[in-house]
C-alpha cells in the first residue's frame, strides 16, 4: 500500500509536468492553429539557459528563474510569433507543422553547438533533501513544488481564458479569426500572447523535468511526445480534459515504472514498454477520438505548386543520376566513397516522402522508421544477398504502414502525423530493444542486441560487392525509384492524391473513399521507404537501431521540405546533404552547420512553401528543355570532361570544374536564348555588358569564353561558378537539380 502511494505521488508529479507542457501546447494550438512540435525543444533550451545562468554563472536561483521564465521565455515566444508564426497564416497544416519541426531541429543544433555535449551537466531538484511525510510516505519537496506549479498553471489559464479581456479575445480568435477581425480585435495580440505564455509554460516544464532526466537535448525534446498524448485526450481544445489526461498518463507511467520490474517473466519484454506508456495512451486516445469532419481547402495565401513532371525531363534526370553515380564512383577516393554509398538509400527514403507528403499532403514522421523495418526484413529474410529481401522489405513495410495509418485515418492530418511520431518513438524505445523471443519454432531477435549484418545483393550478371559497384547500383536503384514516383504522379492514383490534398470534401462528393486512398498512399510510401532501408543496409553492411531513430528522420523530412517535396531532385539533394560527408568535408569545424542550415531554411518556409528546387533551381534549368541543341552541347561537354579524366588527360578537379561549367552554361545559355526571344518580341536587342557574342551563338558558332559566363551570371543574378563546382558530388547536385524538380 505504501509502495502504491509512493508511485501515485510520483506519478502525479510526472503528470503535473505533462499537464504544464500540454497546457502550453493546447493554448498555442487553439489560439493560432499551429501545433508546435518545437514545444519540448523550447523547454529544453530554457532548461539549458537556466543551467547556464544558475550553475554556469552562479546567479541566485530566483534571479535565474525570473530571468528565464518571466523575461527570456515570453520574449522568445513573442518574437517567434512576430518573425515566424504570423506569416504562416493561410499555409497548409503540413507546412505549419514542418516549420515547427525546423525550429525543433535548430534549437537542438544550437544547444549542441553552444553547450558541449561531451560535458556532464546536472540540475539538482529544487529543495533537494527536503521531504514531507504524507500518510507515511516520504515525498520530496520537488514533487510537491511540481504539483503546486501545475495547479497554479491550471488555475491561471482558467482565469486568463474566462475572466480577462485578452483571454476572451484569444478564445474568440480560435472560434473565428475573420470575425474577430471584423469586431475590431486584432488577432495579432492574442496570437502573440498565446506564444509568449505557451513558451513560458514550456520553459517551466523544461526546468521542472530537467532534474528527473539528464540534462541532454534529445530526451528533453522528445518529452513532448508524452505531452502530445495529453493534448490529444483534450482533443487539442479542452484544457480541463488535457489536464486530466496528463495526470492519467503520469500515473500510468510511474505505475509501469514501479510495477513492471516485479513481473519477472514479462520484464525483459516490457521494460522498454515502460518508456512508451504515454505513446500507447496516445494511440488509444486516437482510436477513441470522434471522426473529424471533412474539410474543404482553406484559401491559401501562398499557393503551394506541384508542377507535373514530364517523362522527358524525368528520364533525363534518371540518366543524369546514373551517369553522375558512375562519375562519382570512379573519381571519389575510397574513404569518401564508402561513406557516401549510403546516400542512395537515404535518397530512396527521401523519395518515399514524395507521394505521401508531397502529393497527398499527409505528414509522416516515421519514414526513417519504415526504412529501419526494411533493413531488418532484409537482414533476417534476405538470406545471403537475395534480391527477394527487398521485396519482403517492401511488403512488410506496406503492411505495417497500413496498420499505423489505420487509427488516424478518420482524423485530420495532424493526428496522422502524431500517430507516426508515436510509432517511431515506440520502435526506438521498445521494439528495437526487445530481447530474443520464440514463437513456435521460430526465434526472432530484432537487432541481435546490437548490430545486424547485411550482405550486398547478388545480381544475375554482375557482382556489386565492391563499394564502387554498389554505389553505382544504388544510383540505378535511386533512378528507378524516381521514375516510379513520377509514374505515380502522372497516373490516375497521383491525380487522386493531389485532389485529396486540395479538397477532401470535394473528393468525397465525387464518390472517392478518402480513407482507402490515404491508406493506399501510406502503404505505398512505407514500402518505398522499406526498399530504401534495404539498400541503405547493403551499403553499410551492418545496421544498428540508432541509424533509424525518430530524430534522424526529422532531418531527412526537413531537408526534403526545403528542397521541394514534389521533386526527385529534392531527394537527390537530401541524399547528398545527409548521406555523404560533403558538408563535413567542406566545413569540418562546424558539425552542427548542416542541421542549423536545414532548420533556418525550414523556418523560412512560410514565405516559400514550395521548397528551394521548385522556387530557385527549376526556373534556372527549365528553359534548357526547350533548346535540345543547348542540352546536347552541354551534355557533350560533360561526357568529354569525363572521358578526358578516364584517359588521364586531366585530373579530378579539372573534371569537376569542367562539368560544373558545362552545367551552368546549359542554364545560362538557355536562359540567355529565352530572354533573347522575349527581347526580340519587345524589340530590344542589346547584348549584356561584357559578352562577346549573342548568347544563342555562344558555345555553338562562337567560342564560349569565361567572360561570357561571368557576364551572363551577372545579368541573370547567379552566384559565381566557383561556388557551384566544389567537388564531384557538387556537380551531380547541379545536374540533379534541373529536371526532376
Amino acid at each position: 500500500m505504501k509502495e502504491f502511494l509512493t508511485f501515485t505521488i510520483s506519478g502525479l508529479a510526472t503528470g503535473g509536468i505533462y499537464a504544464i507542457t500540454a497546457g502550453g501546447l493546447t493554448l498555442t494550438y487553439t489560439t493560432t492553429g499551429i501545433f508546435n512540435m518545437a514545444h519540448g525543444a523550447t523547454g529544453m533550451f530554457a532548461a539549458f539557459t537556466y543551467w547556464q545562468l544558475h550553475y554556469g554563472w552562479g546567479w541566485p536561483v530566483l534571479l535565474a528563474l525570473a530571468v528565464v521564465l518571466l523575461l527570456l521565455a515570453p520574449l522568445f515566444g513573442a518574437l517567434m510569433h512576430l518573425v515566424i508564426m504570423r506569416r504562416l497564416e493561410g499555409t497548409s497544416q503540413a507546412t505549419k507543422l514542418m516549420v515547427t519541426v525546423a525550429i525543433l531541429l535548430s534549437l537542438v543544433a544550437a544547444v549542441l553547438w553552444i553547450w558541449d555535449p561531451n560535458k556532464n551537466r546536472t540540475i539538482t531538484p529544487f529543495f533537494q533533501g527536503h521531504v514531507v511525510e504524507v500518510l507515511g510516505v516520504r515525498v520530496p519537496y520537488s514533487d510537491v513544488t511540481t504539483l503546486a506549479v501545475a495547479l497554479l498553471v491550471a488555475i491561471g489559464l482558467w482565469i486568463l481564458l474566462t475572466r480577462t479581456r485578452s483571454g476572451v479575445a484569444m478564445r474568440a480568435t480560435v472560434d473565428d479569426r475573420s470575425l474577430a477581425v471584423l469586431n475590431g480585435s486584432r488577432p495579432e495580440v492574442p496570437g502573440m500572447m498565446a506564444w509568449a505564455i505557451g513558451t513560458m509554460l514550456a520553459a517551466v516544464a523544461g526546468i521542472l523535468v530537467a532534474p528527473k532526466l539528464s540534462l541532454s537535448p534529445l530526451p528533453l525534446t522528445l518529452l513532448i511526445i508524452n505531452a502530445y498524448a495529453a493534448a490529444v485526450i483534450g482533443r487539442l481544445r479542452s484544457l480541463p480534459m488535457t489536464f486530466v489526461g496528463a495526470l492519467v498518463i503520469g500515473l500510468a507511467n510511474d505505475y509501469a515504472i514501479g510495477y513492471v520490474p516485479k513481473w519477472e517473466t514479462a520484464q525483459p519484454y516490457l521494460s522498454g514498454f515502460v518508456a512508451v506508456v504515454p505513446v500507447a495512451v496516445l494511440f488509444v486516445a486516437l482510436l477513441l477520438m470522434p471522426q473529424s469532419q471533412l474539410r474543404g481547402h482553406a484559401a491559401s495565401r501562398t499557393r503551394e505548386i506541384a508542377k507535373r513532371p514530364t517523362w522527358s525531363g524525368s528520364l533525363i534526370f534518371a540518366a543524369a543520376v546514373v551517369f553522375g553515380s558512375v562519375v562519382a564512383a570512379r573519381t571519389m577516393d575510397p574513404i569518401d566513397l564508402f561513406s557516401s554509398t549510403k546516400m542512395w538509400g537515404m535518397g530512396i527514403i527521401a523519395l518515399s516522402m514524395i507521394p505521401l507528403v508531397g502529393y497527398a499532403g499527409q505528414l509522416s514522421l516515421a519514414q526513417l522508421s519504415f526504412a529501419g523495418i526494411g533493413a531488418i526484413a532484409v537482414a533476417h529474410w534476405g538470406g545471403d544477398g537475395s534480391l527477394m529481401g527487398l521485396v519482403y522489405a517492401a511488403l512488410l513495410c506496406a503492411f505495417i504502414g497500413a496498420i499505423v495509418a489505420l487509427p488516424a485515418l478518420r482524423l485530420s492530418g495532424i493526428y496522422l502525423a502524431l500517430a507516426t511520431a508515436a510509432f517511431a518513438v515506440a520502435l526506438d524505445r521498445w521494439i528495437y530493444l526487445l530481447p530474443k523471443w520464440t514463437w513456435g519454432d521460430t526465434t526472432f531477435h530484432i537487432f541481435k542486441g546490437g548490430t545486424l549484418n547485411v550482405e550486398r545483393y547478388d545480381l544475375p550478371w554482375v557482382s556489386i560487392d565492391s563499394d564502387r559497384a554498389y554505389f553505382i547500383f544504388g544510383g540505378v536503384a535511386f533512378a528507378l525509384c524516381s521514375l516510379l514516383v513520377v509514374a505515380i504522379r502522372r497516373g490516375e492514383f497521383g491525380k487522386r492524391l493531389l485532389a485529396l490534398k486540395d479538397s477532401p470534401a470535394a473528393c468525397a462528393t465525387l464518390g472517392m473513399n478518402h480513407k482507402l486512398t490515404t491508406l493506399a498512399v501510406f502503404a505505398t510510401s512505407a514500402a518505398i521507404a522499406g526498399v530504401g532501408g534495404g539498400i541503405l543496409a547493403g551499403a553499410t553492411k551492418s545496421v544498428s537501431a540508432t541509424q533509424f531513430e525518430f530524430f534522424a528522420g526529422l532531418s531527412i523530412l526537413m531537408s526534403m521540405v526545403i528542397a521541394g517535396l514534389n521533386s526527385p531532385g529534392g531527394a537527390l539533394f537530401t541524399a547528398m546533404l545527409l548521406g555523404t560527408p560533403l558538408m563535413t568535408n567542406l566545413f569540418p569545424d562546424y558539425v552542427q552547420l548542416t542541421t542549423i542550415l536545414i532548420g533556418l531554411n525550414g523556418i523560412a518556409l512560410g514565405r516559400n512553401p514550395n521548397g528551394m528546387i521548385a522556387a530557385q533551381l527549376r526556373p534556372k534549368w527549365d528553359p534548357a528543355l526547350k533548346y535540345p541543341a543547348v542540352m546536347a552541347a552541354g551534355s557533350a561537354l560533360v561526357v568529354l570532361a569525363f572521358v578526358a579524366r578516364e584517359a588521364d588527360l586531366v585530373g579530378n578537379y579539372a573534371m569537376v570544374i569542367a562539368i560544373g561549367v558545362a552545367l551552368a552554361a546549359i542554364s545560362s545559355v538557355a536562359r540567355g536564348l529565352e530572354s533573347e526571344k522575349v527581347g526580340k518580341q519587345t524589340g530590344s536587342d542589346v547584348l549584356p555588358e561584357g559578352m562577346t557574342a549573342p548568347p544563342e551563338q555562344l558555345g555553338l558558332s562562337k567560342p564560349f569564353t569565361p567572360a561570357d559566363i561571368e557576364a551572363l551570371d551577372r545579368t541573370l543574378g547567379l552566384p559565381p561558378l566557383t561556388a557551384v563546382a566544389v567537388n564531384g558530388a557538387g556537380a551531380t547536385a547541379v545536374s540533379g537539380g534541373r529536371h526532376g524538380a
Partner: protein, 259 residues
C-alpha cells in the same frame, strides 16, 4: 422520384441554422432553394451530401434512406454537388479535375466508356476547351464554377446540387449555364439550385422553396412565390438590384422564358 428531405434540424451552438425543414426535388425538374444570406441554404446542402450531420431529420434518395451513409457513399448513389466557395482541385488542370471525377465513376461502374472520352465530351459540352490545360487555381470564379459543374456531371448524377453557380459569372457564362442546366434536367436529373440571381432562378426553376433564418417561409411555383407577400418582404424586396422589374411585374413572362 428524386431527393426527399424530411424534417431536418441543424444547430450550431445555440443558433438554429435549419429548423425542421422538409423539401423535395423531383427527377427531371429544377427546384430552387432561395433565401437571404445566412438562411441556411448551404447548410442544407451539407446535410444532404453528408458533410454535416443533422440533429434530427432524414434524407432519402429515390425512396431509400441515406441519412446514415458517409458522403462518398451518397455520391456513389448518384448525388453530386458544386460548392459556393469553390472547391476545385487547384493543383490539377481543368482536364485533370474532370478526369478525376470521371475515373472515379468509371472505377465503380464497369461502363464500356473509358474516363478520357467522358472528360473530352464534357469539356466540349461546357466550352472548356480553351482552358483545358490551365491549372484550376488560376481560373476566375466564373470559369471555376463551370469546371465544378463539369466535374459533378462527370459522376453522372441523379441528383445535382448547385450552390450559387452563377455568382461570379458574366452574362454569357450564365446563359451557357442555364442552357446546360435545362438539358441536364431534361435528361431526368433532379436539380436543386441555390441562387441569388433572381432572373436565373425565375427563368429555369419549376418549383421554389424559400428559407429565412432557418425557417421555411414559402413553397410553390415561381409565380406563387413572386406573389407571396411574406417572401417579398423578407427576401425579394431586398434584392431589387438583382431583379428585373419587368419579371416581377409580369411573372408569366418569366415562366415563359424558361420553356
Amino acid at each position: 422520384m428524386g431527393l426527399e428531405v424530411r424534417d431536418v434540424t441543424v444547430r450550431f451552438g445555440g443558433h438554429t441554422a435549419l429548423d425542421n425543414i422538409s423539401l423535395r426535388a423531383l427527377n427531371g425538374q429544377i427546384t430552387g432553394l432561395i433565401g437571404p444570406n445566412g438562411a441556411g441554404k448551404t447548410t442544407m446542402f451539407n446535410v444532404i451530401t453528408g458533410l454535416q450531420a443533422p440533429h434530427a431529420g432524414k434524407v432519402e434518395l429515390d425512396g431509400r434512406d441515406i441519412s446514415k451513409l458517409a458522403p462518398y457513399k451518397r455520391a456513389r448513389r448518384g448525388m453530386a454537388r458544386t460548392f459556393q466557395r469553390l472547391e476545385l482541385f487547384g493543383s490539377l488542370t481543368v482536364r485533370e479535375n474532370i478526369h478525376v471525377a470521371a475515373a472515379q465513376f468509371k472505377r465503380r461502374h464497369r461502363t464500356a466508356e473509358r474516363a478520357a472520352p467522358t472528360t473530352e465530351k464534357l469539356i466540349e459540352r461546357l466550352n472548356l476547351g480553351a482552358i483545358a490545360e490551365v491549372r484550376a487555381d488560376s481560373l476566375p470564379t466564373g470559369q471555376g464554377r463551370m469546371v465544378e459543374l463539369a466535374r459533378s456531371l462527370a459522376c453522372r448524377p441523379r441528383v445535382l446540387l448547385l450552390d450559387e453557380p452563377a455568382s461570379g459569372q458574366d452574362e454569357s457564362e450564365t446563359a451557357d449555364f442555364s442552357r446546360v442546366l435545362r438539358e441536364v434536367a431534361d435528361e431526368g436529373v433532379a436539380v436543386l439550385l441555390v441562387e441569388h440571381d433572381m432572373d436565373l432562378v425565375m427563368s429555369v426553376c419549376d418549383e421554389l422553396h424559400v428559407l429565412d433564418f432557418g425557417k421555411k417561409l414559402a413553397q410553390g411555383t415561381c409565380a406563387q412565390i413572386q406573389a407571396d407577400p411574406a417572401v417579398r418582404a423578407a427576401y425579394l424586396g431586398e434584392v431589387d438590384d438583382d431583379l428585373d422589374p419587368a419579371v416581377l411585374a409580369d411573372p408569366d413572362d418569366a415562366l415563359g422564358v424558361s420553356r
